[in-house]
């Protein structure tokens, strides 16, 4: 049973942020074998998810909510896109094209969700959200709804994004594991969140930045009995900020 200030709070059990795919590969070769065919944001999200799922009591029955990839694609995929699209309608331009089907997957918006469900045998609640502003928080809201009321007691939100899919720019993956409030005394914190008053601004296009910032700040506050973190609209959806409150479980 939940006690304390946050009667509707969730237990935040663990989190991970992955920004270096080479380092992630060396520290988790088994995961690398599974994800190496995917585009960088999906890989980053999956590395982060696997790190965090080690803390789940029953990974196969963990609810999953994801934005991965936020902005899809890879340099290899864009090479195909440029070559193929340039030939549209041109006589016999398709004759020599033998596309690697793996690179079709790099355009797929639910790749990381499906790959993770396959890896851990999760057949229950899973939802993928697209790479529009605020969708990481939509994922978190849907996940919270589910683990408060649904059959799943624990839920994982994970996301992956990149700055420039064609050039192969910076990439980030983030994963946070939550549990129904009061079920994990070993949690980092018990948290709840509220939307602030509307305040329109330009949102950050990287869907991972808000979740990664939250995890960083939670770690900073983790020994405090009670704390609050205000995430501005630019890190949420460009329309509302988010006030996240936490306490020791």
């Amino acid at each position: 049973m939940t006690t304390g200030l946050l009667v509707n709070g969730l237990d935040l059990v663990a989190g991970a942020v992955v920004r270096d795919l080479v380092q992630a590969r060396h520290s988790a070769l088994d995961v690398w074998r599974e994800v190496r065919r995917y585009d960088p944001p999906a890989q980053a999200a999956l590395y982060a998810a696997h790190q965090v799922l080690k803390h789940a009591r029953d990974p196969a029955h963990t609810a999953l909510a994801t934005v991965a990839p936020g902005r899809a694609g890879s340099p290899e995929m864009f090479q195909w896109v440029r070559r193929i699209e340039a030939g549209w309608g041109r006589e016999r331009a398709g004759d020599a094209i033998r596309m690697n089907p793996v690179h079709t997957l790099h355009a797929v918006d639910n790749l990381a969700l499906s790959a993770l469900s396959l890896a851990i045998g999760a057949r229950g609640f899973g939802v993928g959200l697209g790479g529009a502003p605020g969708q990481a928080w939509s994922a978190l809201d849907l996940l919270a709804q589910r683990i408060r009321q649904g059959p799943e007691v624990e839920g994982l939100v994970f996301a992956g994004d990149q700055a420039d899919a064609e050039a192969g720019g910076a990439v980030c993956g983030v994963a946070l594991l939550f549990a129904r409030g009061g079920t994990r005394p070993d949690a980092v914190a018990r948290v709840s969140w509220d939307r602030s008053q509307p305040e329109v601004t330009e949102p950050d296009r990287d869907v991972t930045v808000g979740l990664a910032t939250l995890w960083q700040k939670v770690q900073h506050h983790s020994r405090a009995p009670r704390w609050g973190i205000l995430l501005p609209p630019t890190l949420v959806d460009g329309r509302t900020g988010l006030l996240v409150r936490g306490e020791l479980p």
């Binding site: 694609g73 030939g87 398709g94 639910n110 899973g126 959200l129």
Partner: protein, 381 residues
Amino acid sequence: MRPHRVVVTGLGAVSALGVGVDALWSGLLAGQSGLRRVPEAVAMGLPVTSGGPVPITGADRDVQLAQAALAEARRQAGLPPGPLNAGFFWSCALDTFQVGPEGLVHRAAGQCFHVLAQDYLQQHRMFAVACASGTRSIGEAFQAIRRGECPMAIAGGSAVMLTPFYLIGFAALRAVALDEDAPDPARACRPFDAERCGFALADGAGALVLETPGSARRRGATILAEVLGLGTSMDAYDLNRPPEDGAGAEACLRDCLRDAGLNASVVDVVNAHGTGTRVGDLAEAAAIRAVLGPEVAVHGVKGAIGHAMAAAGALEAVVAVQTVRTRQVPPTVGLVRPDERCALNHVVGRPRTWPHAPRVVSASYGMGGQNASILLGKYRP
């Protein structure tokens, strides 16, 4: 708090059968196919040249065709253009790549969503669960209204899939019907047929206005149907194909009935996912037989309008609402000789008229094993 009931008061559609719900519905009842050769694909010598184009062109057709469907749905619901105090639950499929005069135009699906969402003042939720996205968007909007999170929502999906990258990419995944296997473009997609060989990619958009019955009554809107349940599941089997026994689809249908608090005997019609792929149709048929029995009437629309991915479930929901309203079930275009292993009570050749407003399951089973189904019926106060 008692959950709110949720009704449909507006429909919009853009499909290979034309712009508007009337074009879609009359074409389906007449057994027409909107699939045709795509001249640029023929010139290019692609192995796949059939598809379901829509009569909206231009580099921003991802936004345009969605806006056309949204405007139609809002018009029917009596909602004027402009900002609306409603949630926006939508799927924009995959990124679009098109060649314009200035070179390659790449638009991320999230950008398209961001443009479309600006008019809606409540939640913005963009669903990305492959071919199940449209159905999931509608189902999640239903859930949000039912929980009292918003009074009204616009839900559905749009997709631009008929571009050379996706034609070649999905051919490489062996999902689409190659010309050598389907020489007649109008019959490229043959759901549940013994000679089926894959689907035909299509562009499209489908939109629904959902609200509580009280909201509809206060506004004087006509109630078209009621949403009764949402089911979801994941296959956890393979990234590119479902298990032949249809276990994931079966779990999804059972979840939908459980959510609606109804048993299988109340379902009259299934608007099937019916992609016309060898394994996909087998799996779906097995799931329908296991959950709803062999007698439930089954039809699908992808033989007529192709597979518009994220828009597919939304267009199928529009068709399901029309079925509830008119009691007519359109035939499955492209289905001539049903595969014995897909034995079901198929609606073939001509529409079937129901003696009462039927309850209809509209189901979508997405690539990567993402499944969603919704149940619709007549609203009875």
